[in-house]
């Protein structure tokens, strides 16, 4: 098999072994302890975390080589001491979903945009930008989407308190 061939339906094991071979110790695989979850028992979820330098080549590899066609979701989490971006990426042929966690420091919230790879990530990244203030480098139009343009705060950060919140 040539290097640039697309593997149309890489199985759960194939995906893990290929990713390990390609990226080595830059990826940290996690296993779930859940007993009753059917999707995990039947090997349809891969959990891994990486750093923000690796995310763009990783996504390119997932899309170009392993045929993970769809960026199902991109979302942010505010862990107070740092921010986190979580990607969910799906392959339609095997229904395997990869969950990638990437940590972003508070003082420098920059990360590479995956919109050039998956057009579907466009609005997810815009939304994450406006709600968390994470800046996606290389995004074609990083503007506020849901909230009015005049807003200057990032409402989903834990430092922003709602009415009635202590």
């Amino acid at each position: 098999m040539a290097d640039n061939d697309i593997i149309e339906a890489p199985s759960y094991e194939d995906t893990i072994s290929l990713l390990k071979a390609k990226f080595g110790d830059k990826l940290v695989f996690r296993t779930s302890t859940k007993k009753n979850n059917r999707a995990i028992n039947q090997k349809r979820r891969i959990f891994l975390s990486t750093d923000r330098e690796t995310i763009y080549p990783l996504c390119e590899y997932l899309h170009g080589k392993l045929n993970y066609e769809q960026a199902t979701s991109v979302c942010g989490v505010d862990w107070v001491d740092h921010l986190q971006v979580v990607y969910h990426i799906t392959n339609y042929f095997t229904a395997v979903m990869v969950e990638i966690e990437v940590d972003v420091p508070n003082d420098d919230p920059h990360i590479a945009s995956v919109t050039p790879i998956w057009g579907g990530a466009n609005w997810h990244e815009r939304e994450t930008y406006e709600l968390f203030g994470i800046i996606f480098d290389g995004h074609p139009k990083l503007e506020r989407l849901l909230t009015p343009q005049s807003y200057e705060f990032y409402p989903f950060r834990k430092s922003y308190k709602l009415r009635g919140q202590e």
């Binding site: 909230t147 009015p148 409402p155 922003y160 709602l162 009415r163 009635g164 919140q165």
Partner: protein
């Protein structure tokens, strides 16, 4: 008003004319002309208006689905003369059926101003009445009455189509009262 009866009115400035004409109207009011005309024509206008309420075709949220269901065969809101028009110019009732975010707030105000008077506003559902379940949200206006005057509140989350028709029948009573007060020479 027949201007030939008041030749001096022609030489007035606009401000003078305004004060003078309002004085004239007050005079006519005290003379009972207005009352007579109102008593004669009021019931006709009230009948026409209350049987032909055209709400704005404007779906916001959950209650919009029930608004559609109200015109469905089971409830059939056309029986009371309700037809949804899409252009605010041709409507009488602004029916707000959902929560109002800060982004839509100026548009709702503008729609209200585009409706030619006499106009009525109906707040449908908890969100339009008081913000409803989004009481602590950072992006929701807590109640429609903060931006436009509201005539009828229809509570429910979401309200049922029969409750909505009932709300419009309440509005009919309000329209009756409005025309009983009299509209002759109001503008």
């Amino acid at each position: 008003m027949d201007m030939s009866l008041y030749p001096h009115a022609v030489a007035m400035s606009a401000d003078e004319f305004m004060t003078w004409s309002s004085a004239m109207i007050n005079e006519m009011l005290s003379a009972g002309t207005k009352k007579t005309v109102d008593n004669l024509t009021g019931p006709i206008w009230a009948w026409a208006m209350r049987n032909s309420m055209h709400p704005l075709h404007f779906g916001l949220a959950c209650c919009a689905i029930e608004m559609a269901a109200a015109s469905a065969p089971k409830y059939d809101a056309e029986r009371v003369g309700m037809i949804y028009r899409s252009s605010p110019r041709q409507t009488d009732v602004l029916l707000i059926n959902g929560w109002i975010s800060k982004k839509i707030r100026p548009d709702i105000r503008r729609l209200y101003e585009q409706i030619p008077g006499p106009k009525w506003v109906v707040a449908m559902g908890e969100c339009a009445i008081s913000g409803g379940p989004w009481y602590d949200s950072y992006n929701i206006v807590q109640g429609l009455d903060q931006i436009v005057p509201v005539d009828v509140y229809i509570p429910g989350c979401p309200i049922k189509p029969d409750a909505m028709i009932d709300g419009f029948m309440l509005l009919q009573k309000k329209i009756d009262a409005y025309f009983k007060r009299g509209v002759f020479m109001e503008d």
